[in-house]
């Protein structure tokens, strides 16, 4: 039996929509953001429209039921039902959208704001574009010393950072549940792997309050670590972060 084309189109759309939800929310256990799903569906609808209408005959087949519904006198009852139901559904949709809820408003915030070119860290003005990790060079020059530095960084991390960022550096430390947004997951390929070491240095040293205005609202609870740690401790912790996760800091030089 051949399924009518209009039904086909609707089924495809519904399939894709629930497919996304099933795959992400259930199978992968990582919800798909509703804002993203809405945009995805917009373009899926566009794609389905394109495939179903590029041919004249098939288009006629597609719109035939709609046309019949509007024009065919024998479908009067159906027409009246549809004409009554559609505004009701639209009204209900509008109501659901506008209904006030206890959900806090969306906070749109840039997670990686562009750092300032220079920042005042440890009483010094540093140029973030040129700043380099003074210990990074040991990775090649003196691997043994490098290992030692990484281990020192690990101690700093465990004593200070793991409460929030977790002992696996996955952002799931004991305190993480109390924070919103939750602490950064350094294992993620989209976090420290995308950044230069100088960026991490700036972010760790100046913490949440050091974020530029465009990153507002400041809902980062990251402390201003320059008040608690020494400069070399921050650099060592950075070594540890990359070493443990296996990521490489972003650099503009080839190896």
């Amino acid at each position: 039996m051949k399924i009518p084309r209009l039904l086909q189109a609707v089924l495809v759309l519904a399939g894709v929509y629930y497919g996304f939800i099933i795959v992400f929310d259930i199978l992968l256990d990582a919800v798909i953001p509703s804002s993203l799903l809405a945009m995805y569906m917009f373009f899926v609808v566009a794609g389905v429209f394109m495939v179903f209408t590029y041919d004249e005959d098939q288009t006629r087949e597609l719109v035939a039921p709609i046309k019949a519904l509007v024009e065919d006198p024998s479908k009067r009852i159906w027409r009246n039902i549809v004409f009554a139901v559609v505004p009701l559904v639209a009204g209900a949709g509008a109501y659901m959208q506008m209904q006030p809820s206890f959900e806090a408003p969306l906070e749109l915030r840039t997670i990686h704001p562009a750092p300032p070119t220079t920042a005042k860290i440890f009483g010094k003005r540093v140029n973030l574009l040129k700043l380099e990790n003074p210990y990074r060079k040991f990775e090649k020059e003196d691997p043994e010393k490098f290992r030692e530095l990484v281990e020192e960084g690990a101690i700093v991390y465990i004593q200070n950072c793991q409460y929030c960022h977790g002992d696996k550096l996955d952002g799931k430390g004991p305190y993480a549940a109390g924070l919103n947004p939750t602490p950064l997951n350094f294992q993620d390929v989209g976090t420290i792997a995308q950044l230069q070491e100088s960026y991490l240095f700036w972010r760790i040293a100046t913490g949440g309050p050091g974020l530029p205005k465009e990153a507002a609202p400041w809902i980062s609870s990251m402390p201003v670590w320059q008040d608690f740690l020494k400069e070399d401790e921050i650099w060592k912790v950075i070594l540890y972060l990359y070493d443990y996760t296996g990521h490489h800091p972003r650099s503009w030089e080839s190896e």
Partner: protein
């Protein structure tokens, strides 16, 4: 007409969609306003702005970065705050400063008070510094400017910034430093070329008769190579000709305003005579 209108509506809807998406589909981040330009009005300046002025002087008018860079012509100053403390206790220290601030000011106007080992003038066994007095010669920073540079040096090296922003910039201190005297009353024209060279510290960069620096071309035999016109032009407009192997913008400009005409000719004759 119907076609025309539907095309118009279609296009407007498309534009409306794009505009709507840009306005409501993505977060509206309000970029930070442009940074404030530092005001030259010292009275209402914050310390950060004052430090920024010092930084500008350091790489600009003060010409400090010509030598204090990573090419090894002069010591790097990134840790001067810490180092200065040790210098004061160094047996080789000949100055009178008692704290970092005084030491830095002294180093700027009397560079030979302490010479870092290996950076002394050639042949003086590190007793004399090749650095010119920044309050005189062709650099000629005034007191407030020197203070700003010191503030910058303290700030950039991690030391505590102890200087105060001078409030009474308009009035000159009386009976004070060399620079003020030099500007206050016209000086006598100098007819001794050696004195002129010492005053304008040409030998900080140029080798003259076997003594001097290597930042600029060796002038020991310049008379044999260049004529008087060329020499005159090179003093007045240093970037007019650049000797092979040297960078432009190294030699300070504005010698023309500081030399008397007679002095210029004394210098040119002296240089032309070096063969």
């Amino acid at each position: 007409m119907r076609q025309f209108l539907s095309v118009i509506v279609f296009s407007l809807l498309t534009i409306g969609f794009f505009a709507g998406y840009s306005n409501f589909g993505i977060p509206q981040i309000e970029p930070a306003p442009p940074p404030k330009e530092e005001k030259l009005d010292l009275g209402s300046m914050t310390m950060d702005q004052f430090i920024a002025v010092g930084e500008k002087l350091f790489s600009g008018k003060g010409t400090c970065t010509l030598c204090h860079n990573n090419l090894g012509r002069a010591p790097l100053l990134d840790t001067i705050g810490e180092v200065a403390q040790q210098r004061l206790k160094d047996p080789r220290y000949k100055g009178e400063a008692t704290n970092i601030e005084e030491y830095l000011i002294e180093s700027l106007v009397k560079p030979s008070a302490f010479v870092v080992a290996g950076f002394g003038k050639k042949g003086t066994n590190d007793a004399e510094s090749p650095m010119p007095d920044v309050s005189g010669g062709s650099i000629r920073l005034d007191e407030a400017e020197i203070t700003a540079v010191v503030a910058y040096l303290q700030d950039s090296s991690g030391a505590e910034v102890t200087v105060e922003i001078p409030k009474d910039l308009g009035k000159k201190k009386e009976g004070g430093e060399e620079a003020d005297v030099a500007e206050a009353e016209p000086r006598e024209a100098i007819s001794d070329p050696e004195k002129l060279i010492a005053m304008f510290t040409c030998d900080a960069c140029h080798m003259i008769n076997g003594v001097g620096g290597e930042i600029g071309p060796d002038l020991s035999k310049i008379g044999a190579l260049r004529n008087r016109d060329y020499l005159r032009r090179s003093i007045l407009d240093p970037n007019a000709d650049i000797a092979e192997g040297f960078e432009p913008d190294q030699m300070p400009e504005g010698m023309g305003e500081q030399l008397y005409v007679s002095e210029l000719e004394v210098l040119v004759s002296f240089l032309a005579g070096l063969k």
